[in-house]
Symmetry: C2
Subunit: 395 residues, 2 copies
């Protein structure tokens, strides 16, 4: 007879994290380990654990059963830890080297043990500091093409795809996106957070029926179109980078959704940088935008040749799919720009600008660009036309 003691969730301490790490047989048995909790404590603990005499290190990430936002605390499913870990593993099958390696998963404790990336910097921070990431768009374009193609109906047998759709059902985290990206910013909701000087611009958005209709369509697309296994939150704060390396982290919002959502979120966060930068520094970002789409679409097209989809050779079908992804990308980018300016979750790129006039001016631009991308997403046919649009709103 075995007495089964059911393991229960409890949050780790630094000491607990060290004990946990020792049991993994990752470090030599006699290694002395140092541990620091380096997360922001809002959603997860992130324990950095390293040998005192040696080079080996790892990260133990533990989901907390609540989210702390604007001082409030609300319950949040622990299942997101498994979603995140499994998405990292699934995406690593196709984009190895562009995501952290997962060493172990513990669903009960909501723990993922993974590669330590602390030699890298969060891309958003680096971009704000005008650091150079010459490989950023090349890597992200490749990451997007590989992960999205290979998890779509063009890269998978329908049985395998539908299995993944169920496995990555992620209602709670999707609801956060549905509310905070697609709904609240377009209505007078208390989650919104904007500066008084933007009130007129914000009210114009709330009263813009044409815009809201297009956002409703984009939200519908987000909620119904199970095209590929998305990262689900691919902003520049979800990317670790250096001059040579790029690693996409934190896919806890992963689910089956429209491909353009991942592409659009990344581009929107680059577009914010085109607003805040000048001259050569700005051109670097424009090039990243161009290159992201070029690499994504050319690599997606290459992968298309390997597809066993029965209509893959039907003339115009690949172009139709890429056109749909492009217009979706612009629309979702527009929603992201608006919600990052007036919604609950802002970006440091804008909020850290101290000069009030400049900051407000930039925020008005991100709102205008966002609106134009949503409304003109079917008219705009190339990244050059996106650049034309960006020019028009520069002051």
């Amino acid at each position: 007879m075995t007495i089964a003691i059911e393991k229960q969730y409890e949050s780790l301490t630094e000491e607990g994290a060290v004990l946990y790490a020792k049991e993994l047989n990752f470090f030599p048995p006699d290694a002395e380990l140092e541990c620091r909790e380096i997360g922001d404590g809002n959603l997860n603990y992130v324990f950095y654990i390293k040998e005192l005499s040696g080079d080996k290190s790892l990260i133990i990430k533990q989901a907390l059963p609540y989210a702390k936002v604007v001082g409030e605390s609300w319950p949040l499913t622990l299942k997101r830890a498994a979603i995140e870990a499994n998405a990292l593993k699934k995406h690593a099958e196709f984009a190895a080297g562009l995501v952290p390696t997962v060493y172990a998963i513990d669903e009960v404790l909501a723990i993922t043990v993974m590669e330590d990336l602390s030699h890298l910097k969060i891309a958003r921070e680096g971009l704000i500091e005008l650091e150079s990431y010459p490989n950023l768009s090349k890597h992200i374009g490749k990451y997007l093409a590989q992960t999205l193609f290979h998890t779509s109906d063009f890269g998978l047998h329908p049985f395998e795809k539908k299995k993944l759709v169920s496995e990555f059902s992620n209602p709670e985290l999707c609801k956060i996106t549905e509310d905070l990206i697609f709904t609240d910013p377009f209505f007078d909701k208390e989650t919104n957070d904007f500066e008084p000087l933007l009130r007129e611009a914000v009210k114009a958005i709330w009263n813009n029926g044409t815009l809201k209709l297009e956002v409703a369509k984009l939200k519908n697309s987000f909620m119904t179109e199970a095209e590929a296994l998305l990262h689900g939150d691919l902003h520049t704060g979800s990317i670790f980078a250096s001059e040579t390396e790029t690693k996409v982290i934190d896919p806890e919002f992963a689910f089956y959704g429209p491909i353009g959502f991942d592409v659009g979120l990344f581009l929107a966060n680059l577009i914010v940088q085109t607003v805040t930068r000048e001259n050569d520094k700005r051109v670097v970002i424009l090039n990243h935008i161009q290159q992201t789409w070029e690499i994504f679409s050319s690599e997606f097209s290459e992968l298309w040749k390997t597809s066993s989809h029965p209509f893959k050779d039907t003339e115009g079908y690949k172009e139709y799919i890429l056109d749909k992804i492009f217009s979706d990308t612009l629309g979702f980018a527009g929603c992201e720009l608006i919600r990052r300016t007036i919604g609950l979750a802002h970006v440091k790129d804008l909020d850290s600008i101290e000069d009030d006039n400049q900051r407000i001016n930039f925020k008005k631009q991100t709102l205008q660009i966002g609106e134009a991308l949503i409304l003109k997403r079917y008219e705009i046919c190339s990244i050059d036309e996106v650049f034309g649009l960006l020019e028009r709103f520069r002051k």
Copy 2:
């Protein structure tokens, strides 16, 4: 200590079905029961069980672990029995009286015990015999509006909807549709089955790149757009009817898909009747087509008012959703018309016509109508325009 003996699947005999029925406490304990297997034996056993002295009767439907088609036998998941029974129960929540009542479900034996509907006739048979079903389109329009609205994002909380999406994941049965409706008829596949006199028309379809591109888009919509819990196979052979009653049966293909697929399949099967009928008898069917869409769209619009979807009052959004359903409906109807003429599964409406010239002429018409519906689905804006199209191809 309990010794658990795992129950295993075995197919029922008539004697077994009677024993099974007795255990349900549906009949009086001393009732003598008669039993007949009335299924076609290709996919399921259907046992009709009735009191010898009394009025009570029921149906025990058992899924078989294989499908027999064109003499071949291939394995087919038993899970479809649970999908079917659960879809019946879910749809009954919103369209009570329009689906058979489910009395019991046995997942291990793949059995559904349900209401006996043997006083009704399969609508396809009745329509072929020119029987009158004055309530058919009113009931089906209502069934479509109620089941599809209430299982969509407009009728459900996103958590509940996503739970149902996973519960009704139905890869094996979807694959049959993906192959037999959206792929095989448009390529030279051995599953196709058409008369030699149609060969030229069929080859024209296989060589029509424009058509194939549109079919590829419709297939993509079928495979990605989780809009509502569909019946999944709503042809006139899935409907029991009389002058007063209508019951939708056999939702083993149920899954979350595009709303227009259910509407389109039903309309396509009515369109076949507009091809084979003349004069007043034909007008009856045209009226059914008109009424199905009218009842569906007006009831859907009424239900829309009850929605708690945040964009429900955004001007133009309901119209956008209904327009999308309409064009999807036409496209899916077109695919159904083509596959029912040249694909694996034919309809008796056409195949039972003995005069060779007439039959071939009708089949050419269903192919032409199907093709036109697919190609012109975004141009056609009303049922009247559909009627215009039907007229054009009459000979």
